[in-house]
């Protein structure tokens, strides 16, 4: 697998080219569970202790805080599931993606596909997209500009070859 950067890589097997990319996530499921439940135990343990003594107003704040923590960890979990896969096999180019709650799949005819990488807008990342039949699909969300340019070159070469 050719590594474009730590977040994405391309692979060629038996004539088919595929590119996989996903964001860097170092939090494992076990670490997430340990983090969340240790804080739940600590916060609610303390809050329930004070509640038993009659000082119950600590409890709602603990609940709100743990709610915010749960939302944060859930967001990370969603990000972890993000991916992009681009496969060129014979005459077909298949794009599959999941970004946040949006996921999709598109199959294109290789002969009509062309790749464009626009780095001309100052202050914006390079815009790398695959176009066919008037439709444009952005690729390389999790890549740096350098890696997007590299991917654009690789894709152009693969589509021509």
């Amino acid at each position: 697998m050719e590594q474009l950067n730590a977040n994405g890589g391309a692979q060629i097997t038996a004539g088919a080219f595929s590119f996989h990319s996903r964001p860097c996530c170092s939090l494992t499921c076990t670490q997430e569970r340990v983090t969340f439940w240790s804080l739940v135990l600590l916060c609610f343990g303390v809050a329930i202790g004070f509640t038993v003594q009659g000082y119950w107003l600590v409890l709602p704040f603990a609940g709100l805080e743990i709610g915010l923590l749960a939302w944060a960890l859930e967001s990370l979990r969603n990000r972890e599931n993000n991916y992009e896969i681009l496969t060129i096999d014979g005459d077909s180019v298949v794009l599959e993606w999941r970004i946040g709650k949006q996921s999709g799949r598109r199959e294109l005819n290789r002969q009509w596909v062309h790749v464009q990488c626009d780095c001309s807008t100052p202050g914006r990342n390079c815009h790398l997209c695959v176009r066919s039949h008037g439709l444009e699909t952005e690729v390389g969300h999790f890549l740096s500009d350098e890696a997007r340019l590299k991917l654009a070159a690789v894709l152009k070469m693969q589509l021509q070859g």
């Binding site: 809050a47 600590v58 923590l69 896969i85 598109r106």
Partner: protein, 526 residues
């Protein structure tokens, strides 16, 4: 990968706004780090001016400059602002700047929440400061907000409760951001036990903040309902228990003390190996010692309230558990000294502040041990001995570590070396000034001078005069820091990427100044 019709993931893709809008809307961790640090520097001068006014009043016995009630307002606000407006934001500034750089992450996990966490702080600071101009003046019952005084005050007390809530919310958002960033955004290969110690100390600090903030929020809300809604949580006349507030408050506030010092340990653990040109001695033991201190911080709170009356067994428990904290702290001090031992040491300003930290924080630790002894504490409670103790911990501890961190990372932030001569002037005047202010306070306390009193008996005059002279030396020497920072921002000798010969870590692999966007491609750590 998405259709053109879909919304783009646009974080960091737009042109940067300029002027005020850049700072108001920024989600960049470096910008937000700078905002935290400038806010802390501004508040340092605000709360420092209050300290100078306090010391000016105490230069002579009798009442010279300020009304006693205003004196109490000054001591209260000095404490609140220094803790919540200076030390905590300064460490948050370091965390914002350094944690992503040290982890090889492009930014914090939740950049927009990061922006909110910062911009809540000036609002809270405004509420605190504006209370001086409200009827009855600012809060005057001490930063600990003890009832019944706190229940009886004017409108500024409600405003202070609101400010504390806002600062608490800011801390919680910051902590969640830091925990998620550290756990989820480490570069491939950067395992937990390979993380720089500064990152470890912040991870543990964030845990402490999350564990204790609901307690503070609950405590001040109960004060608010006692004041305005007829509840009697802490009102003895209605069957409430004012002493219970002290338990709740210190259950929050003792871990808070470690929230103020653990990141300082982290900074010093980065600085000393760099200038000793040796790896940190006992890295794993430093991590475990930090975690032990955090755990112990939850079971020692009542040593702040030995005088309120508690069973002898409880006194013994809190006395011995407090003394136990000396063990992991001793491990840390030993490791710092062992790191320096036979090192190829040089003494640039960050290292000088780090060495001063080790020596003077240890003095603060020892006076803490003295205060941990229940029968001694009963004698020394609310005297200047306590003031001396916590200033040795928070000034020569937390603040000196902040200074060390500023000098250490300033070239990385600005791209220019700071003026070493001015830095050394700042160091020596600070160290000498600080000791002149706070060391005599040990003697004043042992002789029985009470704290938070604008007047005192004649026999305390000399030591108070010495302390006041020291305070002005220390206070005005901080202007040198301001000059050093401004000069480094404007220009000077170009800094290299590594800056310091012995510096190691991912943050030193990026150019100086660190580009606006760093590590968009995650580095691989071997």
């Amino acid at each position: 990968m998405s259709d053109a019709a879909h919304a783009h993931d646009d974080h960091g893709h737009h042109a940067h706004p300029t002027g005020m809008m850049r700072w108001l809307t920024t989600t960049n961790h470096k910008d937000i780090g700078s905002l935290y640090l400038f806010f802390a520097l501004f508040m340092l001068f605000v709360a420092g001016s209050m300290a100078l006014l306090i010391r000016a009043e105490l230069f002579q016995p009798g009442l010279q400059l300020v009304h006693p009630d205003f004196f109490n307002q000054l001591t209260t606000m000095h404490g609140l602002i220094m803790i919540f407006g200076v030390i905590m934001p300064a460490f948050s500034g370091f965390a914002n700047w350094q944690v992503p750089l040290m982890l090889g992450a492009p930014d914090m996990a939740f950049p927009r929440m990061n922006n909110w966490a910062f911009w809540l702080l000036p609002v809270a600071g405004f509420f605190l400061l504006v209370s001086f101009w409200l009827p009855g003046g600012a809060v005057a019952g001490g930063w600990t907000m003890y009832p019944p005084l706190f229940i009886q005050g004017g409108i500024s007390y409600d405003l202070t409760i609101l400010a504390v809530h806002i600062m608490g919310l800011s801390s919680i958002m910051g902590s969640i951001n830091i925990i998620t960033t550290i756990l989820n955004m480490r570069a491939p290969g950067l395992t937990l036990m390979k993380m720089p110690l500064f990152v470890w100390t912040w991870l543990i600090t964030a845990y402490l903040l999350i564990a204790t903030m609901p307690v503070l929020a609950g405590a001040v809300t109960m004060l608010l309902t006692d004041r305005n809604f007829g509840t009697h949580f802490f009102n003895a006349a209605g069957g409430g228990d004012p002493v219970m507030f002290q338990h709740i408050f210190w259950f929050f506030a003792h871990p808070e003390v470690y929230i103020l010092i653990l990141p300082a340990f982290g900074i010093v653990s980065q600085v000393i190996p760099t200038f000793a040109r040796k790896p940190l001695f006992g890295y794993a033991s430093m991590v475990y010692a930090t975690a032990s201190i955090a755990v112990l911080s939850f079971i020692v709170w009542a040593h702040h309230m030995f005088t309120v009356g508690m069973p002898v067994t409880a006194q013994l428990f809190f006395m011995f558990s407090t003394m136990l904290i000396a063990v992991p702290t001793g491990v840390k001090v030993f490791n710092w000294v062992a790191t320096m031992w036979k090192g190829s040491m040089t003494f640039e300003t960050p290292m000088l502040f780090a060495i001063a930290f080790v020596c003077l924080f240890t003095i603060g630790g020892f006076s803490g041990l003295v205060l941990a002894i229940a029968p001694v504490d009963i004698q020394l409670h609310d005297t200047y001995y306590v003031v001396a103790h916590f200033h040795y911990v928070l000034v020569s501890g937390a603040l000196f570590a902040i200074f060390a961190g500023i000098y250490y990372w300033l070239p990385k932030w600005t791209g220019y070396m700071y003026n070493e001569t001015l830095g050394k002037w700042h160091f020596w005047l600070s160290v000498i000034g600080m000791n002149i202010v706070f060391f005599p306070m040990h003697f004043l306390g042992l002789a029985g001078m009470p704290r938070r009193i604008p007047d005192y008996a004649l026999q305390f005059t000399e030591f108070n005069q010495i302390a006041t002279v020291g305070a002005f030396i220390f206070g005005f020497s901080q202007l040198i820091l301001l000059i050093v920072v401004m000069k480094a921002i404007k220009g000077g000798e170009k800094a290299t990427a590594q800056v310091w010969e012995g510096a190691e870590g991912l943050e030193w692999t990026v150019p100086s100044p660190a580009p606006y966007h760093t590590f968009e491609t995650a580095p691989v750590v071997k």
